[in-house]
Every structure is written in structure tokens, then in C-alpha cells.
Point group: C2
Chain length 250, copies 2
């Protein structure tokens, strides 16, 4: 049990979830290492949602509402950290969730599917024995995408995505929205909208914003998108990190 008054309580709770998920066989071998990288970057942005992350959330919500076939793609870490909120977002959007693993095994897919369904997911794609299409530019099993999900989607929310795949999705004409704490990652740079924030904070904020914006007319939503510049957004995140360091005194 982590004491609630511990100065790093939130971070330690997330770490415990990741350790648990690893023991439960939901994560790939190096998923805990990826989580550690995220911890470091989160620390550098101050472990809270920045103003420009909030603007990125708004653009993400607008794109998801405007989409004809939005899909929420999840991996092991996203499931371990924030499955309930992922399901809530998927239900709010009436968008399917697709399980999309970098190191795919039927066992991990099955476990993740079970968790998502327990949390109330209505439409889980990317499972075994399902019709898959191929995402051009990727090799092996990583090229597979659910025919009714990412393959067909016009807008894909893919938190914590690998750079090669993010690039391939963009090359295949998808509008890619990602959540990535490293503003310099290939995924962050390639995506149409990059929310530089922790998934546990960003996902519920997207749901909130979708609820807020979904009665707007199309012109208003398109204006939000047109006014959003992802390069500028990433530049602002870099400045925050740079400032964290410049202001600190050891």
C-alpha cells in the first residue's frame, strides 16, 4: 500500500498498476521500460496537464467528433493504466476499441479483451480470428489492422504508439491523434494532433471535451482544427521542459 500523503503518490500508483499488469501477463517484456521513460518525461512537464496539452485535447475531440469512422486503439500499457476511461471514451464516441499490440500474442490479446469487456466495452476489435486488412508500409503481424476498425478508420486515436506504425498510419491517409509524453518522438512529430500528457490525465479530458463540443456545428469544429498547429504545440511542450531545467537549482 502506498501512503496517500507520499509526495509521489500518483506516480507510484501508476507504477504499481504497470507492475501488476506485467505480472498478469498483459505487457510485453520491455513495456515497463517504456513506462519508466514516460515517468521521466512526465516529471519534466510537471506531472500536470499543460495549457497547450489542453488545446491539443480540444483539437483531438473536434477531429474525433467530425470523424466518420473513429477508432480508439489500445496497447498493453494503455489498458493497464487507464482501461476504464478508455471504455468511457469509446462509449461516448460510439467508436470501437481496437487492440493493437507491438509484440502480439493471442494470450495477451485475450487478457486485454477480457479487461476491456469487464470495464463495459461494447465493441472490441483487433481480437483473434477476425478479418484483418493490411496497413501498407509495415512488415509482419504489425501490419494487420481490423477490417472494421483501424483499416477502415479515418481518424485513429493511438496513445503510446511506436514511430514506424504512426508513420505508416499517416502514410495510409489516417488522421492520427496520439498521446505521447516525449515531444521529440517520431510518433509525436508525425501525428496530426499530439497530446503531450500522461494518458491517465489525457483520456478523461478528451471524453469531457467530446461531451462539451459534440453539439457544435461542423463549421465550428473545423475552425478548431484549422486553428490547431501541431508543430507549434510540440514547440510549446519543449519550452516547458527546457524551462523546468533552466529554472531548477541543484
Amino acid at each position: 500500500m502506498i501512503p496517500k500523503d507520499h509526495p509521489r503518490y500518483e506516480s507510484l500508483v501508476l507504477r504499481a498498476r504497470i507492475v501488476e499488469a506485467s505480472k498478469a501477463g498483459i505487457l510485453a517484456d520491455s513495456a515497463m521500460i517504456a513506462h519508466g521513460r514516460g515517468e521521466a518525461f512526465d516529471y519534466l512537464i510537471g506531472e500536470k496537464t499543460t495549457q497547450n496539452a489542453k488545446e491539443a485535447v480540444k483539437a483531438a475531440a473536434a477531429a474525433l467528433i467530425l470523424a466518420e469512422h473513429p477508432v480508439v486503439s489500445v496497447n498493453g500499457n494503455t489498458t493497464a493504466l487507464v482501461s476504464e476511461d478508455i471504455v468511457r471514451l469509446s462509449n461516448t464516441l460510439k467508436a470501437p476499441i481496437e487492440i493493437n499490440l507491438f509484440y502480439r500474442t493471442p494470450q495477451r490479446v485475450e487478457k486485454i479483451e477480457k479487461i476491456l469487456k469487464e470495464k463495459g466495452a461494447k465493441n472490441v476489435l483487433g481480437v483473434e480470428n477476425e478479418k484483418k486488412g493490411l496497413i501498407k508500409g509495415l512488415k509482419g503481424p504489425r501490419a494487420n489492422a481490423s477490417f472494421e476498425g483501424v483499416y477502415k478508420a479515418d481518424v485513429v486515436l493511438v496513445p503510446l504508439e511506436d514511430g514506424d506504425r504512426a508513420e505508416a498510419l499517416v502514410a495510409n491517409g489516417k488522421t492520427v491523434i496520439t498521446i505521447d509524453l516525449n515531444p521529440l518522438s517520431r510518433t509525436a512529430k508525425t501525428s496530426f494532433v499530439t497530446i503531450v500528457d500522461n494518458v491517465v490525465r489525457a483520456i478523461p479530458l478528451i471524453t469531457e471535451e467530446v461531451k462539451k463540443l459534440r453539439n457544435c456545428d461542423e463549421t465550428e469544429l473545423r475552425n478548431i482544427l484549422n486553428n490547431f498547429d501541431n508543430s507549434l504545440n510540440l514547440e510549446k511542450s519543449l519550452k516547458i521542459i527546457s524551462k523546468t531545467y533552466a529554472d531548477e537549482k541543484p
Copy 2:
């Protein structure tokens, strides 16, 4: 097999060593997460030894040569990443290696001892059934230190150390030298010398520097120490990280 021309080859090799060590039961549950944090910080300093890390290495070498009872303390991650070089440093210094685990189990201690001995370690302390002394200010098994090792030591090299323990060692009058990629960590701030570098690069550099300096007279070595300022050293590391971000364009 990681292809040698992969742009992140070195980093991926280290990651593979950590994953292997985790499977072999050498690491604690959250050790991979700690490795990931290190990856992020290493990325931010450019994945090479900086000029000020080299100065810290020189100060560390001087302190270790001047010590009456130097000890090299290792944990699971250090063993997984750099055991051969640790053994070489220990033999060069004629200083014992002490196994010092945050989540101590007899199984992990035994496995780490075996690896170090296979790599040629002559004097491995901190093993089971050994006379231990108590480091004041720490609770439970974490307070134990080998009577002939850290307990007696005047100078302790403790790479990748936890903040509570680093503080307790300093409070117990030890000269603490650490290797820590996060210049803002409590361990980094508390230690007498903090080498802000990856252990796999820093440990062999310390050995080299010990060989270079060990024929210097005492006055010369004391001058090196007197001219070293750890706050200034950490501040320079922060500036490098801050600059990495300030100069990058997304």
C-alpha cells in the same frame, strides 16, 4: 538480434540486457521502470559522456584512491548492465564489491554474487550469513550494511542509489560517489560527487582515471577534490538538458 546499424543500437542492447536480467530473476519488480527513466534522461544528455561528467569522474577517482576503505556497492541493474567493468574497477582499486539491494531477497543476492564471481570478483560482500552493521536513519533490512564493507567504508561508490539511502550514508559520515542520470534526484543532490552519465560509460572511465591518477601524490589528489563543486557540476548537466530542448525543433 539487434542490427548493428540500428540508430539506437547501444540503447537497445542495454534494454535487452535489462529484459534478460529480469527474466533471470536478478531484478526487482520495478527495476525495468527505473531503467526506462534512465533511458529518457540519457537521451536528453545526448547519450554520451559530457565534459562535466568527465570532471566528476576525475574527482570520483581521486576520492577512491585517497580512501582508506573504499567500497563499490552494486544493485541488480548495475550488475545486469555493467558487471564486468564493476569487477575490473573493484580489482583495480583492491576494493570489495558489496551487494546492496533495495528489495532484498536471498535468491537475488545469490544470483548476483554468482555473476560477479564468474566475472572475476575477488571479494563480494553483502551476501547472506555475513556479519552486518546498521546504517543509522534507515529502517528494516535496508539499514544493513556489511561490517567489512559499507559499514566500515569511508568512501562508497553507489551507482543508481535510492534517495533515502544516499542521504543516510552521507549522514553516517561516508563520502558518497554516485552515478545518476537525473541531476535533480535526491541522490544526485546529496552525494559528494555525482557523475551524471550512464553507468555503462562511467564505470570504465573511473577505472581508467584511477589508473592514470594513482601515482599522483596526496596533495595533487586533494587539489582535484578541492576544485570539484558538485552543485556546479549538476547545474552544468541541467544546462545541457535544457539546451537539448531549447535547440530542438519539432
